[in-house]
Point group: C2
Chain length 427, copies 2
């Protein structure tokens, strides 16, 4: 079960929410049995959308880089979850090395996330230091936390198939670098050290069609348990591999696939009497965040600017894979702002969450506007931590539990995904 946090949405539970809450014992048992067979990712974060009629995870991050938003009150839960990872991975561990993202070293928010991650790992009883695997880094870097303090990142040493720092030989290495520029050879063979998460957690290896295919399979099983239509907890999607957006014919086939998903969503909206306009989000496969994606309500709306954004650095003639996902509305509001819950997990446990909020005029309250704004590369996310409940947890409906179920569904999908890609890499 997950912590009970106050959600922005405070109204009565919808039928779907009520059904998930009532099935909690069956759901928890199912997760327990799944974790006997499958290994959860070291850490993860899921973006959840609750449209009232539908609740689903729309993205699953295996390199969470926003730990600074985890409130102090949630630390013991994160620490306890980390302890269970240490116990099963390397109980004799003394030292742990964190490999941070290089390109964000001047971003004080990210440096605070690293400091928070270090705090969690230290409270679990480990000595923690930061290392850089960037060959250009030959001396210690001091990253600024923004409050006058700094955090030292030391160049790693590589010898006898081990990554070390001076007088520091770690048993576990935590990767907080999403390896977007490719997997360095130095990380591919660490026979005697535990690298968490494994390199195939990078978006350079992951594919959204694979992840959401597995998510859909699991959502079907969960939906059967709940006696509901799986669509109510899973976004429709289509893979669109090998498109060259500099080529009109290729754009046309992408548009066809987009239209296909939109039609399936329209049919579902009609079936459930949903009055809103359906939309889809087009992700370039390998995109690290929604900022690289584009949301549209109609193929006709796909602008040159959006096509250019999707094409990104694509050069003429090269093919690129896309992922087309049903857009899910959010009915969560904070003041006049639309918000999207993000659920943080360590191992198989939900350890907290926060909202990604965005300035919003509040005039329309239309989820689609929000989705488009969230998708805009310039959107600034203003995170707001879920507040732990202070009132009797039994007296208020635990909407955050529901978000935790969907987040764990996506985390379980990621576990299957990592198993599959391990085989796939070994093939």
């Amino acid at each position: 079960m997950v912590p009970h946090l106050v959600t922005a949405l405070t109204g009565p539970l919808g039928e779907l929410e009520q059904r998930i809450l009532e099935a909690a014992p069956a759901i928890e048992r199912w997760f327990r049995l799944e974790w006997m067979e499958h290994t959860p990712p070291f850490y993860s974060a899921a973006d959840i959308r609750n449209s009232g009629f539908k609740i689903a995870a729309i993205d699953t991050d295996l390199f969470p880089q926003d730990w600074q938003h985890l409130p102090d009150q949630m630390l013991p839960l994160a620490v306890q979850a980390v302890q269970s990872v240490i116990e099963k991975t390397c109980p004799e561990a003394r030292n742990l090395l964190i490999l941070p993202e290089h390109h964000r070293s001047a971003d004080a928010g990210y440096v605070r996330s690293l400091a928070r991650l270090r705090q969690i790992l230290m409270m679990a009883g480990l000595n923690v230091r930061f290392g850089s695997i960037e060959p250009a880094h030959t001396s210690v870097q001091q990253l600024a936390l923004g409050d006058g303090q700094t955090l030292a990142v030391e160049p790693v040493q590589w010898s006898r198939s081990r990554l070390t720092l001076p007088d520091f030989d770690p048993c576990m290495i935590v990767l907080n670098n999403d390896l977007h520029e490719g997997i360095p050879g130095i990380l591919e063979e660490l026979p005697a050290q535990f690298l968490l998460p494994p390199v195939q957690s990078s978006w350079t290896v992951r594919r959204r069609w694979r992840h959401f295919g597995l998510y859909e399979d699991l959502a079907r099983r969960l939906a059967k348990m709940l006696g509901i239509d799986p669509w109510l907890i899973a976004p429709l999607f289509a893979a669109a591999p090998a498109h060259d957006l500099r080529n009109a014919a290729s754009v046309a086939t992408l548009a066809e696939r987009v239209e296909g998903v939109l039609q399936r969503v329209r049919r579902k909206y009609r079936e459930y009497g949903v009055p809103q306009t359906p939309f889809v989000t087009i992700w370039p496969e390998g995109a690290r965040s929604e900022g690289e994606a584009v949301s549209i309500t109609s193929v006709a709306d796909l602008s040159e600017e959006q096509l250019a954004r999707l094409a990104g650095s694509q050069s003429g003639g090269s093919a690129k894979d896309f992922f087309i996902q049903e857009g899910v509305l959010t009915c969560e509001r904070l003041d006049t702002r639309s918000v999207e819950p993000r659920v943080c997990m360590i191992d198989r446990h939900v350890v907290g969450g926060f909202y990604r909020t965005i300035a919003h005029d509040g005039a329309s309250g239309d989820g689609l506007d929000v989705a488009q704004m969230l998708a805009a590369p310039s959107a600034s996310f203003e995170p707001l931590a879920f507040a732990p409940t202070v009132r009797n947890a039994a007296s208020a409906p635990n909407r955050f539990y529901i978000y935790g179920v969907l987040a764990r569904l996506s985390m379980l999908a990621a576990s299957y995904e990592l198993e599959n890609t391990t085989n796939w890499i070994e093939e």
Copy 2:
């Protein structure tokens, strides 16, 4: 590691406290490795005394009956800890049966503790019901929570070596009954159900000399790690078996042993320049709480009334075992009241804690007065939950961590103890 809670004592850390905090990575690693070999009790609670120069567990309860004091904010931690027990005990569990204490069914505080325990177990994803193994209970009892609500305790059914309720076949049975009147045969053979904790956790089987002997061995190992005198974290003690307090010669030998412990404590006080007067606590073996014990500073002070209390229901000629324990002062104060921290644990995790406070004129501030008052059978305990920190956990010294270390030391001793008594029962 344990949650960071605000302790009443807010002054700077003493040298001993500082040393324990600094050794946290080594301490956590040691506990991790111990848990690979030993099984922690399902739940436990330790009474901790911090005299400033000395911090030790003075009692370890394997049937905590005060869960109602665990604040809401700590629930997720307790739930996560319970989940790890379910995972390793009976992952396929659907149902859990709690066997409560019979003689406290009219005590609304205890009934609220049961309700809290049920809440924790339900949030971990189980269906939970209460059962009575008392043969006299043939119908459902409704216990009052004091707020108008009730909690149903149903008579258990016993067939095919299983305890069940109507339409309810539990995989796990949680014993919250300390079996003070002896171990019912019905609980000794449950070949296909998990009874947590096992029956030998009862004070009818446990002996304080055995527990504190194991605690002392472990304290020696921890002290070596910290580079300190083990006395700083363990109370001195002596066993005094087979005394008949109706017999003057027997009282004299008990007095001799008491004097022996007092002399050892006096030597230590001189060595460390402690100005206070040493005292000892005499426990009848099998005592469930300090209320059955007697604290004195000198053998000459042992009154007839105290002897009578220790003898209890002892009839002339029958022998009774006693345990003599160095008294440890408490320097924790809340307003003008002296308080004693109690740390609650589930499995190997600290999940919270609270103070047992007692009305106190605050005039002397002498720990001994407090010990005597705590020991008085009429003392009313006014529990006060530790408040989780709201400020940055890194900025304040985490005194509660230190209490968690000592509490886990006593819990580890209980693990060894249960292993030993399992063998002892089998012999």
